[in-house]
Symmetry: C2
Subunit: 326 residues, 2 copies
């Protein structure tokens, strides 16, 4: 029984009406009050997984916690406006250290509140002994349309924002993998892991053109697979179109990092979205306006399968779809 089966079996029977819970199938939920809708996303981050154990800089933890949730709000095409916070602080800290810890945590939130135009609604704090687990719930508004995973239609284009795999390489470095990389490369990737940069402002505008979207938290393959499964269709992806930074391309060419890892490591917090071909120009114009890298990586097909093709059109096979939560 995998994560999705567990959700379907145990939590779907608990779900609010489909209109609000979206059958627990999307990155967020919706509260509607007379046509106006509020999109709600909640995600936890844990010490040792989403941020390093004994991270010295809680400013980064705060930013990551907020951003992974804003990524979910973005994937619904919503505009974030507020959040609530469930903060854990390390029990082992002395009073004075604790105050400094919280101060720096709040500093991170403050900086990002400005960047993303959101504000704190409330929350609570617990001091805990083990690894820190923090949750945040983000709220966004949509005018009419919400982007769901289930909206993709046959023949549409598949787009990706940003670059794939940076965060996963950073995570691997923290786990003492990829020891062959030099210090400057290591720092580059670790920073990408610690500070995701979801295309929040871009996303609320793409809603005009896109038909479906998801953010990449579990890995490019896994999240795209979720999208096509929800949309009851398939996708054909040209592997040479998948966006990587030049440094990563080099590592792939040198066979220092496997592309399987990059497509399944997750925590990219970029968007995968689909749109009718006719919106291609509008989308690239919008991307330019918001200084967001957007590439077309493939198309939606009828056959319910995720096909990854090499430049010769030959299908490639991947043993791993993405990060499993349990």
């Amino acid at each position: 029984m995998d994560e999705f089966q567990v959700i379907k079996k145990f939590f779907l029977p608990l779900a609010a009406q489909k209109e609000n819970s979206l059958d627990l199938d999307d990155d967020a939920a919706i509260i509607s009050i007379k046509k106006k809708s509020i999109v709600i996303a909640t995600d936890s981050i844990t010490e040792g997984d989403h941020f390093p154990r004994n991270e010295k800089n809680p400013t980064n933890i705060a930013k990551k916690l907020l951003r992974v949730n804003l990524s979910d709000i973005a994937s619904m095409g919503a505009e974030p406006f507020a959040y609530t916070l469930n903060l854990s602080v390390p029990k082992k800290l002395k009073k004075k250290e604790l105050i400094i810890w919280i101060k720096n945590f709040a500093k991170g939130l403050k900086q990002d509140q400005k960047k993303y135009n959101v504000a704190l609604l409330g929350g609570d704090t617990v001091a805990i002994k083990g690894n820190l687990v923090m949750s945040l719930t983000a709220y966004g508004t949509v005018n009419k349309k919400v982007l769901k995973r289930s909206g993709a239609r046959i023949g549409e284009d598949v787009y990706v924002t940003g670059n794939i795999g940076d965060s996963g390489i950073g995570y691997g470095i923290l786990l003492k993998k990829f020891t062959m990389l030099n210090a400057s490369l290591k720092n580059f990737y670790i920073k990408k892991h610690k500070l995701p940069d979801p295309p929040v402002h871009f996303a609320k505008n793409i809603v005009k053109y896109a038909s479906a979207a998801t953010d990449i938290s579990d890995g490019f393959l896994a999240d795209l697979n979720n999208l096509i499964t929800s949309s009851k269709c398939g996708a054909e992806i040209m592997i040479e179109k998948i966006p990587f930074v030049p440094q990563t391309k080099k590592l792939i060419d040198q066979q220092k990092i496997k592309i399987d890892y990059l497509l399944s490591c997750g925590e990219d917090y970029q968007l995968i979205f689909t749109a009718n071909k006719k919106f291609s120009k509008n989308i690239f114009k919008l991307a330019k306006q918001y200084l967001i890298k957007v590439v077309k990586v493939g198309k939606i097909i009828k056959k319910r399968k995720l096909r990854i093709l090499d430049p010769q059109g030959k299908e490639l096979f991947f043993s791993v779809l993405g990060f499993k939560h349990f």
Copy 2:
């Protein structure tokens, strides 16, 4: 620097406009969309504090997690309708045990969803190594008035629902205090600790008569003190009016348990509320209708002080106000 000072210093600068965040001073926050308001409450519970370490029955954990949040919704006079969940599951469990764990957790939610008429909107799950930390965010609606901590006025009555100290005694028993109690008493109090019973249905109706409210999570004295501080007034409480179950009264009389402990141990998840004298009859009628124990324990006074009086009118002094989160 205590918890409130930390919130004021580091988090108040991050708060959304007062209309929504209530300056982080209440049990919940409010999102308004054209007159209709949604009340949002979020609270975490931790293994070893809010539920026993290695609790065998995740059904109870689920219920407690939901109920502590519904208690906050109740304290705002709102009617809960939905929640989002941040679930932690123990990493040490084998796949099969884990499925059973989640199954029983979901069972608890299902039972309480029926009891309280709420439904799941979404959430996420992480598997963690250390002590479990779980968060839940509950959503309620209010029609016009929201009950805030700041609404108490001089001369009003102070009411309490349920009984005080049961949960705290249960917690003490789990920590191997109160070893002198017999098994049946121990079970009674531990159950009260594990399964709080906030007056959810009563609370959404009391909003017509009450002027201010808070739930008791940090302790009777601490939470009442917060209420009068927010309301810029004081309170005079007659100690003999404070409601205890007969078993607890006996323990006090036998000097086996100190009243200081009962008034500060917290996690009662009952309501303290204030109301104009003229509503006294209506309130007791409502209490009868919902089968809720409600007692008048004192009144709001001008002097900004929490005064606890013995039957002779002599002021009693308590060294401890309540549970401190850090």
